[in-house]
Amino acid sequence: MSMAVHVGAVGVARPRIEGRAKVTGAARYAADEPIPDLAYGALVLATVARGRVRDIDVASVRDMPGVLGVIDHTNAPRLNPEAGNFFGPDGGLRLLQDDLIPHAGRPIALVVAETPEQARAAAQALPVTYDEQPHDTRLFAGHPAGRPALTLFDAPADIGDVDAELAASAVVVDERYGTPEENCSAMEPHSATAWWEGDRLEAVDSNQGPFQIAFTLATLFHLPPERVRVRVDHIGGGFGGKTMCGPQLILAAMAATRFGRPVRVTLTRAEVFLATAQRPATDQRIRIGADADGRLRAIHHDATYEISPLAEYIEGCTELTKTLYAAPAIRTALTVVPLDILPPYSMRAPGAAPGSFALESAMDELAERVGLDPLELRLRNEPGVGPVSGLPFSSRNLVACLREGARRFGWASRDHRPRMRRAGPLLIGTGLAATSFSTGAFPSTATITAEPDGTFTVAIAAADLGTGARTALTAIAADALAVGTDRIRLRISDSAIGPAWGAGGSRGTASWAWAITEAAAKIRGPERPMTATVDTTQLLGDLASRERHAFSAVFAEVGVDPATGEVRVRRLLGMFAVGRVINPLMARSQVIGGMIGGLSMALHEEGVRDPVTGRHVNADFAGYHIAAHADVPDIEADFVPDDEPGVPWGIKGVGEIGNVGTAAAIANAVWHATGVRQRHLPIRLDRVLES
């Protein structure tokens, strides 16, 4: 593969291409698209955690102003039960197919009216009665319904003799760590507009991957994929919550089918919480054994998390445990407990965010018990190859992240004993965490066309969540074609372009850049075609087997008021090894955003359920706390030189790694400040308050 070096858009800090359109309000989000003759749908959600719909009194709202009709399980189009997601068939998608209520917040009807207000008024007025059944929404390790998780990834590991190594260890940490249900909480609520053009179903939908969503929608509605087209222009964040074919799109398509006109369904904030996706609660046990000098003998990580019986899902909590540290014995297992809850799905560093909280908290506890600098403990257990797989790392710069982060943070002067620093009434502490997140690429298709005016149309069904994918792909296409960025016309966000991975799993840019780069190589090749399409499926299969991960080290300083339990983060610093950085300005923004997500996970975010009804009681941004500006301190984030051999442009992906490790670094800093371990997130003030 020949690459142009003389143009040089890759690696240059550039502001977002669409920045001006966004700050002036010109950028259109899914709910902004003007569509003629539009009707509006409003959801009705189940208010019981388990049971059956006894009756929906449609007649009582049919004559309300503007109401066109109600879709429920008695008249909804029949959906294909084979439709699913990355993990297999997904009963979460089969809305309005029967009277069963699998979780509170399940959509049970859609009211369609001439205006959004009329639809909402009728939806609120619609009388629904239920036959309630006993429910179970409480997760705990050892739950009788527990069973092994799917092994599609983060499969169980068992090398060496964990029990013998633990028995031979001078020091053993054996603790449980818990994380609550959390919500993706993108700023833009999910919105979809669907209509028929002849025999083709068209939709504008806020999602993270238009091709996959269109494919799922086609399956659901028994249509060949070419008769479904899903587009999205700008997206107000996803954080995993827009990865699946959302209820807004399924219900809009149903309503467009039933009423024969375009229908828009925009979720309320509460509906985003209750009916889209959530991170499952986890209950994790970690056992680590080490010699007196801190060399690890064994790591045992058992993670239990909740799913819904409707769909499989993998919260890969133990991936890091198989990646970060050398140990002669490593055992990991994922246990799922099916409960009466909204099906969990990927959210902000799925698996790694809760998993790293457990592992890196336990490592800090080990450092304490061994009497070792937590930084030195990590350095002392640096592996040469994949600790479980034995495969070489494609590249691994965790040590560089740790050392450079420690230097900038001033770690060397830290007194490792807890509760030694004060500032007025506050206890001050610092903590760190090492992290990884697996990287790679998925098959994608790109088409490049040389236009008569000297520009190049570069088309790929990518999605820009607001992270800057447009800007990054424009730079990559320009360099791959050896032209200036002004000659690139990028087309994304349209399923009709062809198969492409979505914006998720830290694999968007790597997957899309690969296809664009190969298509550009064809355009510039000896045959000089006017247009070239490349599907990377075959190329990806040829990639050498390696341990492929992004790495980082996160350092935190907190102030704790022991009289009130208030924890405030004073400093955060992250050093990242993410392969080659395509655009340092946007990459820095993205990892800082991730670190704020991690801070929010550490101190604030928690889906609270009513203990009696099993229903969420804080499904809004006043009750579900996300870090406010005032919670976010000065954050420093930077990158160590890194590369990813074998992947075009050396991309590793920067999407999730920012989230990982921050919660553990903060929890470790809270211990250092107070001398008390925080093993359950969020670190609420009532958990810290000293009476």
């Binding site: 008024a121 609120q124 009434p425 009130t564 101190l603 203990p611 009681v617 804080n618 005032a630 009532d686």
Partner: protein, 326 residues
């Protein structure tokens, strides 16, 4: 949201004439409109009072301040005389909500805001305050941030206002107009005890319009403080807050006022703690003992017991802070 009529008034008498039946007065709408969206409030008419001539803050003959009911929270907090004479009031207002909300919210609306109990805001849940006789889902439900003082088996919700806590500490008086004429109520009596009528939230007669809040000059308290503990640094309701004023002379407490937020259905004036401290020594032990005296009546639920030591620690810390030499 139910359909409703909207009327903007510029004369108090027009507001009073319209403010009956299913009508509600609209200030900044930062709470009322939210509750209309979720179906808790269903007014037939909104009477927009923001353009009434009630937006001034003026001096009173006794050296106090009269704050017009449509003064925005932002203007109240920024007013130089409020900041000089009643710093805890300015601090309390600034500790509430967000900048955007404070720009809209009004003093009258702030006093009339409803509880943020999640069960109250969800018409599918049992709530005696919203639907008398339906029960209280919070008492056996998620009540992490609910009341520990003065609640009843009917309702365990807290009052959400920060401003009202400072007003309670400063002996503020609420003035209002009705079609039958004007009257006033001390803020401390403005919110009745919960009892078995949690739906009755204020002592205002039906259709009454709050016109101003008067801060007596005798209560001028340049040495006062508002400290709010919350689950994030901004845009969160108090878990516990304290508005306090303290004057110490030669080691003896000469004047003290303490009000608590986040612990009861109304701003909680800590009279027992004040009596305990008055004319006694101003020491850390006494501050803590005074707090414990006040909190002896606390009755926490299984999920909010932390509020009792938190309130004790917070009262002691704020008083100790105020007792420091100038």
């Amino acid at each position: 949201m139910k359909e409703f009529a909207y009327r903007r008034v510029t004369e108090i008498r027009d507001a009073l004439a319209a403010g009956h039946g299913g009508a509600r007065y609209l200030g900044g709408g930062t709470n009322l409109v939210d509750l209309m969206k979720c179906g808790v409030e269903t007014p037939t008419q909104l009477v927009d009072v923001r353009f009434l001539p009630l937006g001034e803050i003026r001096e009173t003959p006794d050296g106090g301040l009269a704050i017009g009911a449509t003064t925005t929270n932002s203007d109240l907090a920024a007013h130089p005389e409020v900041r000089r004479r009643y710093p805890a009031l300015s601090q309390a207002v600034l500790a509430g909500a967000s900048g955007q909300l404070r720009n809209m919210a009004t003093v009258g609306g702030n006093l009339m805001q409803r509880t943020r109990c999640a069960y109250f805001a969800d018409p599918s849940q049992a709530c005696n305050k919203r639907d008398p006789g339906s029960g209280c889902a919070a008492i056996r439900g998620a009540h992490h941030n609910h009341a520990v003082l003065g609640w009843s088996p009917s309702c365990v919700a807290t009052h959400a206002s920060d401003m009202a806590v400072a007003l309670a500490a400063f002996d503020a008086v609420v003035r209002y107009e009705t079609l039958d004429g004007g009257a006033e109520i001390p803020l401390e009596r403005f919110y009745p005890p919960v009892g078995d009528t949690p739906e009755r939230e204020t002592e205002l007669p039906a259709g009454a319009l709050i016109t101003e809040v008067v801060l007596p000059g005798s209560a001028v308290a340049p040495r006062s403080r508002y400290r709010k503990v919350r689950e994030r640094a901004s845009y969160a309701f108090a878990t516990v807050s304290v508005a306090a004023h303290l004057e110490v002379s030669r080691g003896t407490v000469r004047s003290v006022r303490i009000a608590l937020g986040g612990v009861a259905s109304r701003p909680w004036r800590a009279r027992a703690a004040e009596s305990f401290l008055l004319d006694g020594p101003a020491t850390a032990d006494r501050f803590r003992a005074a707090a414990e005296t006040e909190l002896a009546a606390a009755a926490p639920l299984p999920g909010n017991g932390y509020k009792v030591p938190l309130a004790r620690n917070l009262i002691a810390a704020v008083l100790a802070d105020l007792a420091e030499p100038y």
